[in-house]
Symmetry: C3
Subunit: 234 residues, 3 copies
Amino acid sequence: MCRNALSLSMLNQLHTALSADDGDLRVIILSHTGPVFSAGHDLKELTAKTGREYHEKVFSTCSSVMNLIQDLPVPVIAQVQGLATAAGCQLVATCDIAVASEQSRFATPGVHVGLFCTTPGVAVGRAVPRKVALEMMFTGQPIGAQDALLHGLVSKVVPEDKVEEETLKVAAKICEFSKEVTALGKASFYAQMALEKKAAYRFAEKVMVDNLSLEDSQEGIGAFFEKRKPKWKS
Amino acid sequence: MCRNALSLSMLNQLHTALSADDGDLRVIILSHTGPVFSAGHDLKELTAKTGREYHEKVFSTCSSVMNLIQDLPVPVIAQVQGLATAAGCQLVATCDIAVASEQSRFATPGVHVGLFCTTPGVAVGRAVPRKVALEMMFTGQPIGAQDALLHGLVSKVVPEDKVEEETLKVAAKICEFSKEVTALGKASFYAQMALEKKAAYRFAEKVMVDNLSLEDSQEGIGAFFEKRKPKWKS
Amino acid sequence: MCRNALSLSMLNQLHTALSADDGDLRVIILSHTGPVFSAGHDLKELTAKTGREYHEKVFSTCSSVMNLIQDLPVPVIAQVQGLATAAGCQLVATCDIAVASEQSRFATPGVHVGLFCTTPGVAVGRAVPRKVALEMMFTGQPIGAQDALLHGLVSKVVPEDKVEEETLKVAAKICEFSKEVTALGKASFYAQMALEKKAAYRFAEKVMVDNLSLEDSQEGIGAFFEKRKPKWKS
């Protein structure tokens, strides 16, 4: 596969792979080989020849992959060591966490081919300040890793030779904690962020009380007082 | 009180203290002695022994303190010179302004005890980029003062020995202006931010016209033209 | 005109100038001569003498200029080489892109004259973190260019003698692409940002499919495969 293009077939594979959980899954890392994290949609699939119905299928499948990532019970980390463009940049913006190398770059260059990055803009516009998103989309020019960090597109930037190590460190940290609690926390975070602040608090209060009734929570608090490591059920 | 835990009793005291205004109140500073701004809820109050009803009371009281801070007519400044964790971090995120020392740190470490920082996430998720909030909540790891500034969790970072001076400078600046105008401005800011942009403008236009009809506003504009210091009524 | 005050007459002129499109318009640059980008409303128009109805007219005209900027089919760039205050700062926050010199400064100082910057806060509060917006509005103190960049108020900061060059570079980049595609993209970006994420995706998917049916889009994709420069219709 060339430059990790998000062809319809690739999007379907991603959807299947992301949905697979044998029960032991704790965290997902999206990494890449080669210089490109993902170059976005496969333009060969977006010509007049493939037709409107096919185009609809491509974009609805893409959105369903993006929505799935945030709906999954486990954290999803993007490990970026190169170029992420268009729907590839959307994928980075969508992940829960993103660790990037200092050389990585991010672009929404659809204007170059007359296809404005409108769907990538849904994720990128919710990750970085509006002006940054618009400049990226209007000019098609890439931004570097430090600007991506400055503006919130990625959560961490490290030297190229530390990206894997740092990503695995974040993943290992996540695996130290209760799977059930992390799943409850992730779902509740996205749910409350969609609400107005006072409604968000009412919702979140209920989640906290429910969280406390979980076995893992009482185990965690008990272990804290007994100064021992907790033994999670999940 | 150990590490400024937000016990139910402490939350009730905070609520009472924040609500007290003898008429001369102009600005509130939340500062701390010792190395911890606040370590969040008191875990002893969150065990199975205290029970669900008590837990509900703790979280609803906590939310009511957080909502109160933004509903108050005077600006509330957090002065942070150490560690702010869990609901303590939520408290910093909630204040109108936060001045922090270079050594201060911020964490939402609930996963360590199996209690995801969902209610802190309401405030933190509205203050920093989503990816930063999620990495903090999934890993429980603290971020430093510079990252807190970079991501919008605090508004100013200064050396340890300048925190009080800087906080008092901000507070003194606020006290130079009309209390009535500041109160109108604070309430209107939070109100319009909850609206869609065009509705926000319609609301804000009306506030501006009402503001102009205040005595302090005509005094301020008059003083500007007469090149003298205004004498505020409030 | 003194310090580019946004008098009612100036706002009406701006509205007319921004609306004028002879068909060849591709991008708008708001620049200034002198040390002030804009000092905001003309205080002489906001005294008791001019009266409530006049004040209403000033603020509704100002909002209509701000809304127009984002509703226009072409990108609007602020080129800032000095001080932008109050409604002048609102204007910078409203533009799609802002290029600023290292010496430029930004303030919402209405409290000095007893008129809280509530309408500027609609734009500034949607551009920078809440704490930064509130500190600016409560204290009336200016922030520098680097802080404006850090917090998302401007999209680029360059040395004073490069501001015009950099702004023209961004504008020239925009002009390389299809006018029709850029117009569709700008309108769709603002529309989807006002929706909840999943609704935003459904809307944006449809836009992408429609975008693909444009002549310029198929020309762009065709040119990409034929490794030639596209010839845009618009």
